[in-house]
């Protein structure tokens, strides 16, 4: 069992490139159980790249540094193995899969994890019962279960569906990549409320966002500012408020001066 204050993710000097262009230029980050972290920064600063590298996207080549997840070398694991061992990435743009019902998709994903844990897979009836309990977390209508995965879903519905998957998979480390983008304020509240219900002393959340407004609802313990492929400043939730008020300019200048 992982207790509070145990290190879940330890990132040291992580460097990664895509198509020969270096995007991450030495990221350092440590996340412990029970913590909520936020990474903020301008477009192109490397936030999404970082989330994809942690989840194992094949387009990104890691060129240096290390990522240790629960004592294991994460970079050696296939994306599906990362997922099964508890890393969850909520996508900014979730995929549509016509012809595959949401319910079936959720069951396949859920059972892949169960199998990995050496547990018996749930049959359709037991799974149905389980998933219906989880619908409440994101106030989703049961009719979404019989629809094709994300097909014809609105932006808000897709994001809720991501959080529903998260509720089922009960990750140790959930990374939310700009989950607030394209959401109206009501949907934002529902999504944030879902995330808050799932956060506990045993897991950790990493919220990636441009804006402070999501952090009104998901209150972070730490706020990191990313620029030019590095974390250039770390603070508490007050840093997010200061960024909202003053913009990013001053942090960037400050970092340049220090460099």
């Amino acid at each position: 069992m992982i207790g509070s204050n145990d290190v879940i993710l330890s990132v040291k000097d992580l460097r990664a490139e895509v198509d020969g262009t270096e995007i991450l230029k030495g990221v350092d980050l440590e996340i412990r159980a029970g913590e909520i972290h936020a990474i903020m920064g301008l477009n192109g600063s490397g936030k999404s790249t970082f989330s994809k590298v942690v989840a194992g996207h094949p387009d990104y080549e890691v060129t240096g540094g290390e990522v240790i997840y629960l004592g294991q070398n994460l970079l050696e694991m296939e994306p599906e193995a990362r997922s099964r061992s508890g890393i969850f990435l909520a996508f900014q743009y979730p995929l549509e899969i016509p012809g595959v019902s949401n319910l079936d998709f959720l069951r396949v994903a859920y059972n892949a994890k169960r199998k990995h844990q050496g547990l018996e897979e749930l049959d359709a009836f037991d799974f149905d019962e389980l998933v219906r309990e989880k619908l409440d977390v994101v106030k989703m209508d049961a009719s979404f279960l019989s629809r094709s995965v994300n097909e014809g879903f609105s932006g808000g519905e897709k994001k809720r569906n991501e959080i529903l998957q998260m509720a089922l998979l009960e990750p140790k480390l959930a990374i939310l990549d700009e989950t607030d983008s394209g959401l109206d304020i009501d949907a934002l509240k529902v999504v944030a409320d879902g995330v808050n219900q799932l956060a506990n002393a045993e897991n950790a959340m990493l919220v990636i966002t441009h804006y402070q407004r999501l952090l009104n609802y998901i209150v972070p313990d730490y706020v990191h500012v990313m620029a030019n492929g590095r974390i250039i400043r770390t603070g508490t939730k007050e840093l997010a408020l200061e960024l909202e008020e003053r913009g990013y300019e001053w942090v960037l200048e400050d970092a340049t001066v220090k460099a």
């Binding site: 994809k52 989840a55 194992g56 996207h57 094949p58 387009d59 296939e78 994306p79 599906e80 990362r82 997922s83 099964r84 969850f88 990435l89 996508f91 979730p94 995929l95 899969i97 016509p98 012809g99 595959v100 998709f105 396949v108 994903a109 892949a112 994890k113 990995h116 998957q165 998979l169």
Partner: protein, 451 residues
Amino acid sequence: MTVQVSPEVNTPISQAAALRAEFLQHLRQLAQAIPSRIASLEPLRNRALGQLQEQEFPTNRDEEWRFNDLSALLSLKLTTAETNPVVQLDDLEAFFMPETASRRLVFVNGVYSESLSALGDLPSGVTVANLAGLDAAWTERLQPYLAQQPNAEELFTTLNTAGLSDVAVVFVPKNVEAAEPIRLLFVSTAADPPTFSQPRVLVIAEANSSITLLEDYLAIADGADDSYFVNPVTEIWLGDNASVNHTRLQRDSRTAVHIGKTAVSLKRSARYTCNALSLGAALSRHHLEVHPTGDQAEVTLNGLTVATGDQESDLHSAIALRQPHCTTRQLQKNIVGDRAHVIFNGKVFVPQAAQLTDAGQLNRNLLLSSKARIDTKPQLEIVADNVKCTHGATVSQLEADEVFYLQSRGIDAASAQQLLIYAFAYEILEKIPIASLRESLASSPLFCPNS
């Protein structure tokens, strides 16, 4: 200046030509050897046999055949199919469907099988039978329709007519609705030497009638060295305001050659839908020709071709409009893997008379391997000026982002790819009006080999 052609260059070409001529002559003899079961159709057969003498076997220099490699056909040492093959109900049971359990007409190697057919539940007035088993009045009644579709002189259609032995007949009289699907099942038994068979289908849907039809080609044995050549022709006639929903499923042996023709004529306000699935055969080609002869006809062509290994599969479609206010919709999807080759040649003719035509055509291709090949040739010929016509073709691969999304949910890469291939095919699969067929295809190894 004259160009000297050296004998070294010349000889292989003339040898190839001689080989083709010899093969065509052999096909003609095979067709002639097929026993005729309907004496009154002899003149039709003989005329076609005569026409075959004038015709040439196609080569890549023929525009309509330029992408095809017919060597798999030319290399077959064919013999006529066994007239009395031993196929038991048990052999076919795996292919039976609850929806068509009592409306099933079965031919084995082109020969009608009464013991395998089941025709107990047809709406009043609807005839589903083999023509040789019907009385002579039927032959007379159907003669104005047999081999009367445009382009019946095309080589492989002529070949079929030259060996015309029996006909699978579906007749739906005026104002009759045959909503429950009727299945025409053509079974081939792979054998050594490879067999040759020529199923023939005639469908007549009279005014204001409607019918759901499944035309299904399959093999019950698929030995590694066993193959066959099947050359079917299907003619469909729709009267005023008639409706035909036609699913054509080609799932022949992976070593077979299948060259088939579907010719459809539609009168005023008739509606024809074709869901053409091409999954089997080493070499296959389907000519799908649609001729709306009345105004306000609606034509919907949905197609799915899956080719892997060394398969070659060709869909040649042509919609020839002659009247105004017709609507046509075509969506052809191709999934091509390994070293397979898929061809799509889709023509839509909109002459001056076809004003206010609304024609849409889309060909989407999913390429799964760098050695797979797609030749796509969408063609719109528009003369009329007041029309709405669109066409397009796309080629795509599985996106890394899509596979990654599924992997990030714990699904392994191979299963993720299969799921996405199925998702691509689903748009066509969902249009098949027979639930058990839809489901069995969805769970077939073509789309989910790991399940």
